[in-house]
Amino acid sequence: MKEIDYLAPSSLGEAYAALSNGKTSAFLAGGTDIIVQLREGRKQVDQLIDVKHIPELISYAWTGDGGLEIGASVPFAEIYEDDEIVRRLPAVIDCATLVGGIQIQSRACFGGNIGNSGPAADTVPALIALGATLTLGSADGTRDLPLEDFFTGPGQNVLGPGELIIKVNIPPQPANSGSFFHRFIPRNEMDIAVVNVGARIDLDADGERIEGARISVGAVAPTPLYVAAAGDALAGETPTEDTFARAADIAAEAATPITDMRGSIAQRVHLTRVLTYRALNRALERAREA
């Protein structure tokens, strides 16, 4: 690794000051991506800004209306060890428990997975399905945006030069709602998604009809995709094999994958359809348990 400066700001103000000191910066949270990228020369910066000493980034809390705000640097292990999150937001646990192995989950975090902006990022389809937004901060103030609007290309996003991710906001979920995150990899653990899918289904009060749905797919385009049309096709329908298959077809049509070492275009399109169908069924089960 090239020589590098290390800063550990203890407040957002200090972090913004560090970002504007004229040097090129990267953020250090879990370090599981950035340290390797710097060591292998895939990225070069003058300074690393450790964002694990900023109170807003290392805490999480339920909001008064039942939403969950997760600081960008909170490690996955801290999230999935929280019984209330396990109970109330199982799709968050689906993704947090399968990013890397235990060693990675001890350090890696939502802010890092999102900020790294890989097309296959495992937390993203789950969070998009849950309707999550991001709060970004800079010396000029903060702004919120839907997670699906954050990504602009592989490793690329809308974060400005003086800006950082403060937190992920998961809004309160509808009463008869269920969500599920599904990933395909060729082995049981420790791999990057060939395709991953997040799905949420909102049922009406009787549990008979679908009021709305949100479907997001990853690793099949330059950025994670929010396929609004697939969810919209389910609104007003009853949950059946046919309606789920139609939504899965729409998700597969939205996929524009590439062929690489992990899978071919044809396999990824097929997996998008299969995983979407299965994720919808599992989301439905959870909605009925809710």
Partner: protein
């Protein structure tokens, strides 16, 4: 000479301080600055778990931690697992079950397994295999390692 940072940390129960460059990983600091060579370098990119250490009770890949991040933390390496001359039950069981061949992955496996048994002394086989998915072994085929961990979990010293 690059600027070196002064870091205070608790290493294997002892308060120490060291100097390191910000670019040095905790793995490099342990091995090259502190001469604790029990922690091994495998892939050096977070995939193999050979460099596993405990940091504030959680198992981490020390190749993906900077030495400067150890400031104020409590770090346990394989050198801190035995009680003096008395092997930890995991170490004893790895020997008895022949759970190692070349030995490069072994410190990482023992440290990772210790983190599991410290928090879940009743972990079953599925849990052990899942927990150890971040540790790679190219010799044993894993069965012997899993047997050793399960045997250690049944020993009084661990479950007490």
């Amino acid at each position: 000479m690059p600027r070196r940072a002064h870091v205070q940390t608790t290493l294997n129960g002892e308060e120490i301080d060291f100097l390191c460059e910000p670019r040095q990983s905790l793995l490099e600091v342990l091995r090259d600055e502190l001469n604790l060579t029990g922690t091994k370098e495998g892939c050096n990119n977070g995939n193999c778990g050979a460099c596993s250490v405990l940091m504030d009770g959680r198992v981490v890949n020390s190749c993906c931690v900077l030495g400067v991040e150890a400031e104020g933390a409590a770090v346990t390496t394989i050198e801190g697992v035995a009680e003096g001359e008395t092997l930890h039950p995991l170490q004893q069981c790895f020997l008895e079950e022949a759970a190692l061949q070349c030995g490069v992955c072994t410190p990482g496996f023992i440290v990772a397994a210790k983190a599991l048994l410290d928090s879940e002394p009743d972990a079953d086989e599925g849990r052990v295999r899942h927990w150890l998915a971040g540790n790679l072994c190219r010799c044993t085929g894993y069965d012997k390692i899993v047997r050793a961990v399960l045997k250690a979990s049944e020993m009084e010293e661990v479950t007490a």
